[in-house]
Symmetry: C2
Subunit: 446 residues, 2 copies
């Protein structure tokens, strides 16, 4: 499979060889086609989309990024738009609408059939980041029936369903009664009842559940689809594993960004403008700069000490740096543990006690290394070495205790634990460490 690139198509576009283009496209995977269309200049992309084989059109469209979808929709006749709305899966249609400009949304919605419009409106009401917002309505439903009838039904309706591999058994009021896999059905004898094969204890989430919760359950139980029910246990959709994986990656990316003092963004780095990137980064940098000024003003209080003993200044980067690194180690492990569902609120004191012991181990060994090094490089400064070494133990202790426990407290206050990560903790730890350092110096050295 040679890679088809934008450049290799340029000549075909120039010469308007649409038949050859269609030939190239028909050899390609839908997802590669979507990525290719996104890279083409707007007009070419619209043209290329019209050249796609009919059966691939909607699958490629659903995969496109919002911008390219927008351009293609804008260039369509009303009839074409109406057809797109009917052919797209409801969740894909909703994803598109959420990104389109409001005026275009109105126009597009008017062109959809009343049933489609009702379904879309229903989906649009689910809160952002809820299970409802990432589910699809195209699941395979079965009822009380024989295995062979179930297989017949799957053969009849399967084409339009997102997945046929897990089927949901419902009663007349659409209450979720059980779940059965195609594997179970295929491996069963004809004449067997679906009710006898299905698993009645269905693992499900509500439309309003957090999407992270839904994904965590899917990962824990190795599910390839998860049913989403409303308040009355009526099945309204499923989350499929491919969408769950996307959520997983987005949530992890968001944690990486928030933990490193950025406003989270959903667009890839290379596709985000310089101004947006700068804006996402500016806010936290400003807040942290201002708080570091306070740390600085604390330092100002001890001016008489470091003017008398200027050597003390040269150990500040080492003390604050080590505190910062020690703190980010702890906060990272705890934030990640919370995200993976391994660390809970109830573990607060376990974490506190564990981090205290780790601090003592790590802090004391680092302090000994530092003490010996200072004795060698600054001979005769035994008391200064002691001051710096003691402050070092304090820095590691402050950092690990605060770094380990603050994310749990944040979680308890329903804040994002990642918010109170390294940069915020560093600022606090820096201040504490400097106060300790210069007070030790005052007692031991002056």
């Amino acid at each position: 499979m040679a890679k088809t690139t934008v450049q290799s198509l340029e000549e075909l576009f120039e010469k308007r060889e649409y038949r050859a283009l269609r030939e190239v496209f028909s050899q390609m995977n839908n997802i590669d086609l979507a990525r290719l269309l996104e890279e083409l200049p707007t007009e070419r992309a619209v043209l290329a989309f019209r050249t796609l084989p009919k059966d691939a059109e909607m699958d490629v469209f659903a995969e496109l990024d919002a911008e390219t979808q927008h351009h293609i929709i804008a260039g369509m006749s009303e009839k074409e738009v109406a057809a797109v709305m009917e052919d797209l899966a409801v969740d894909d249609a909703v994803d598109m609408l959420e990104e389109l400009p409001a005026t275009l949304v109105k126009k597009v919605l008017k062109l959809a059939s009343p049933e489609t419009r009702a379904q879309i409106n229903q989906f649009l009401r689910y809160p952002e980041d809820s299970a409802g917002s990432i589910m699809t309505a195209e699941f395979t439903d079965l009822h009380s029936m024989l295995v062979e009838d179930a297989i017949k039904r799957i053969r009849r309706v399967g084409e339009d369903r997102e997945t046929i591999y897990t089927c949901y058994v419902m009663d007349d009021q659409r209450h979720l009664d059980g779940v059965v896999t195609v594997k179970d059905l295929l491996l069963a004898q004809d004449g067997e009842k679906v009710e006898n094969l299905m698993e009645p204890d269905v693992i499900s989430v509500q439309t309003t559940s957090d999407q992270e919760e839904a994904v965590r359950i899917m990962v824990k139980y190795d599910l390839i689809s998860l049913p989403v029910v409303d308040g009355e246990n009526r099945l309204v959709g499923i989350v499929t594993v491919d969408d769950a994986v996307d959520v997983l990656r987005e949530e992890d990316t968001e944690d990486f960004e928030i933990m490193n003092a950025m406003a989270p963004s959903e667009r890839p780095y290379l596709k985000t403008g310089v101004f947006t990137l700068a804006r996402n980064r500016f806010g936290w940098l400003l807040i942290l700069m201002v708080s570091a000024m306070f740390t600085g003003s604390i330092l100002g209080h001890y001016e008489p000490i470091y003017v008398t003993l200027p050597l003390l200044v040269t150990f500040i980067p080492m003390l604050t740096g080590t505190g910062g690194n020690a703190g980010s180690q702890s906060s990272t492990m705890i934030i990640r543990g919370i995200a993976l569902g391994e660390v809970r609120l109830g573990d607060f004191f376990t974490v506190l006690w564990k981090e205290m012991r780790i601090s003592v181990l790590v802090g004391v060994v680092l302090a000994i290394v530092n003490f010996v090094r200072m004795l060698i490089f600054y001979p005769g400064s035994g008391l200064v070495s002691l001051t710096v070494s003691l402050a070092l133990v304090g820095a590691v202790l402050f950092a690990k205790v605060i770094g380990g426990t603050l994310p749990i407290l944040a979680k308890a206050c329903r804040l994002d634990p990642a918010l109170l990560a390294a940069p915020v903790i560093t600022t606090v730890v820096d201040a504490l460490t400097l106060v300790l350092y210069f007070n030790l110096a005052r007692v031991l050295l002056l």
Copy 2:
């Protein structure tokens, strides 16, 4: 589904009510059972395992952590161990063997049948973190045949297969010819040939491919299983989506840990001992402490300057802090972009140019805020304010350029980009910033 806890079972164990226990277990999901067994004291866990319904035994065993598996295996008769080895999927057996003590591995392998042993030995040879090491050999294979025969074959062999939903079509030499889903087969007419339904352009990886590469492909193409072939394109296994998701989470966790100056670990925080945690954190803290000492000794060179103008010292935390945060923002975005396959080596200059422009925007605005604040709080120190503000722009520029490009260079040198993240970059940026700061001070203030 009421949660079954270790405590709620205590009484049943005390009274030796094994029938009641078996009743409780038969109501539970295999994965919940595995988590429960892991939490029980060793003897109880072995007892509970023997109480499990026969059909759940192996599925629960495959889900257990290495420690609990070890205890249960150790308490088994040779005949029981032999049965376990035959019933476990090869990849699960291999995962277990990799964690067992060497003496036990020898004993266990001797008890396996020659065929199983040969397969296990084959799997054990795949390099760690390769696609071969995470694949399973239990895939559904089809050959040149009619649809109805294919379905019959699936019904016959499906029970033992990890997934039947994607079937692989092979020729007599086990070369991978195509892929066909059960959905395609079910929706097709009887009498149709499998060769006409299958997709001949199969997306696959090699046994030696990196597991991250395999997972990236699965995520990109929304696959629920990915074929793994040997050097001659012979199908040897598949990676299933549930294992891929586990790899994804592990890789992300590893990135979080490495980026925050820790040796990566595979065990959850709460299950890791204090000494192991301390050891994982100590190495980088030591390296970074020593490099921060060099930063400190740079500071020592400028002692005459800050003894003359001690006010300068109070801005050091703000300058190095802002540099550190600005750098970790950039390195995080690029490291994450590389992990997601969005940023490549070829993007080096794009990233460089983008980060330079972001630095100027962010740096200049921060510098203005700082300049105004200093004019207010330190009236009459216009030149000091200017010095600090100019150094601030420099800090942000150094940080973002180095933070954005070093991870790409690391990737080019086949190092883990996450290694050169925030802590390492901070040390370099700190040193550069301080040199700039005091040289500006020398020129502008002395």
